[in-house]
């Protein structure tokens, strides 16, 4: 059943429940962060509307910088602002930032320990028709490997807003991952969000598997958990919104309880959430793991739904992985 303590949306399983993109949550969170702290500034590389930086640019024009199509300059200008008392948020598509400007982020933001927040948008294959060039599926891995960097992957628009606002209060470099498509709003304002603390969203009476997810695909994990529960397979679903620092203690504790793990993400299984969880388990409590995610391949053009089906990132695929991992116990 849904964990009552996390106060999820009661209409969670209603097909007509509200949907909103996590990028919209970013836009709202950025404006709120800007209202709270005048040190917050925003930079964008010619995608102000689609990254939802537009509202901030209208509200605080003197604190907004249009950088043009130049992600490398954007990252390092932000680095200069960040060591001069400002809290810059930089926005572009994740394939370009942190894709194209990886080295500027590494040297001038992360190693330089500048207080910059990197918002990577249009992440994952659900970006759709634009094709694989615009579908970031390696960004978590790139950013997770970087010392000084923290990594948040919010699961819906409400959590995206919370993560965006929380980033302003954390000193140092933070990577925030957002998606383009509208996805179910399944948390509420009252759902706890504390960086570094994974939360149990679903818990069956006798769980046989721990499902760990991040981002909007976590919703499909809960749907899968419910359907599995109805068929007598109990599980725990953990919202792992912070990939770094990873909540290793909770993951080990729950893995011990369940004895098997499935990770779920709209990202390559190498180096992303799956990689992070496998590392943590190898260290603390070795257990069989199945990985739902991109299997070392690029995406392609199509609608979000068609792509999630083609690349096996739906609730049915999570159920398959659960059954498989239980057999390995």
């Amino acid at each position: 059943m849904i964990n009552p303590d996390v106060k999820l949306n009661k209409k969670l399983f209603d097909k007509r429940a509200d949907q909103k993109a996590t990028r919209d949550g970013f836009g709202e969170g950025l404006v709120e962060a800007g209202k709270i702290d005048p040190a917050v500034v925003a930079l964008c590389a010619d995608v102000t509307e689609s990254t939802r930086t537009e509202e901030f640019s209208k509200k605080f024009p003197e604190r907004f910088f249009e950088m043009g199509v130049a992600e490398q300059n954007m990252a390092s200008v932000a680095a200069g602002l960040g060591v001069s008392g400002k809290i810059p948020y930089i926005s572009s598509y994740a394939v370009f930032s942190p894709g194209r400007n990886y080295e500027q982020i590494r040297t001038t933001i992360a190693y330089n320990d500048s207080n910059v927040k990197i918002a990577g948008h249009h992440a994952g294959i659900s970006t759709g028709p634009d094709g694989a060039t615009h579908q970031a599926t390696e960004d978590i891995a790139i950013m997770r490997a970087m010392p000084n960097m923290k990594v948040f992957v919010p699961c819906d628009a409400i959590e995206a807003k919370k993560a965006t606002m929380a980033a302003a209060k954390i000193w140092g470099p933070v990577y925030l991952r957002f998606q383009r498509e509208k996805t179910p709003i399944f948390t509420t304002e009252d759902t706890p969000f504390s960086p570094g603390n994974a939360e149990i969203f679903w818990q069956s009476r006798s769980p046989q598997v721990l499902i760990i997810g991040c981002g909007p695909i976590l919703y499909d994990a809960i749907v899968a958990a419910k359907e599995l529960d109805e068929n007598g397979i109990g599980s725990i679903v953990l919202n792992c919104h912070t990939i770094k620092p990873l909540d290793e203690d909770k993951i080990a504790e729950l893995a011990k309880k369940c004895g098997a793990v499935v990770t779920v993400e709209e990202h390559q299984i190498t180096g992303g959430l799956g990689g992070a969880v496998a590392e943590a388990l190898a260290k603390n409590y070795p257990a069989p793991v199945e990985f739902v995610g991109m299997q070392d391949v690029f995406g392609e053009s199509g609608t979000a739904k068609e792509l999630m089906d083609k690349f096996n990132l739906e609730a049915k695929d999570i159920k398959t992985a659960v059954k498989k991992v239980i057999k390995r116990k």
């Binding site: 490398q72 990252a75 200008v77 960040g82 008392g85």
Partner: protein
Amino acid sequence: MEALHDKKLKFLEEMANKIRREIIEMLVEAGSGHSAGPLGMADIFSAMYFHVLKHDPQKPNWKDRDRLVLSNGHICPVLYASLANAGYFSVEKLATLRKINSRLQGHPHRGSLPGIETTSGPLGSGLSQAIGMALAARLDNKKYRVYCLASDGEHQEGNFWEAVMFAGKQGSNLNNLTVIVDRNNIQIDGFTEKIMPLESLKDKYEAFKWHVLDVNGHDIEEFVAAVNEARAIYERPTVIIAHTIPGKGVSFMEKDFRWHGKPPTQEEGERALKELRTLGGEIKSEHE
């Protein structure tokens, strides 16, 4: 900035010579590092840290200080020697360059040593960071100025021109920014105009709406006058293209690109120091 009297000028020239000697000593001790660039920029660093910059080595994080961003981090021996002589840390520490547990990293790292404004080494992103600092000054109504010291070779990086273009767009909003280009015409593989031509650098900056000045980078008086002119320009940021001789002061290193990325041996170091102490053989008694 105070006026540049003859006495001060002599002090700055002697300081540049001291910095050159310390660069040689550091490099011999380290056994690796870059020789030509640091020697070529010693006069400009002496002028910056001992005349131009508004700074306080006792308060390295003073909010109103002028910022010096070294974009081409590989010439850091000249930065370290300047900071030590200015009083940011003790001159004895220079001997730890590139050694284990040293604060003097092979390329500068902000936070490792007081006085370092930014981490650099990978080329082409210093100007972007200087722009960020200059924009922060505007947002906070601060009067400090930002100086970015860059190499000519790093103008081959795309990031550099993204930054030049952005600063040109900002116009008077970035008149608190001055770039100083070390135009020494060499890079690791050879002469810049052979590896990847940069000329006309002046025309390129002007096309991006910058104010451009050309100076002899070893004439401290001329350089300081250019810095003063940059301060007086309202409409746009200024670039000072400083023509320098790589390896300046050590005859067997001057203008030879092979000295870009290697240190002198013990023996070469001794020859270099003797030359520097006698000002290239111009004076008989070694002055110390």
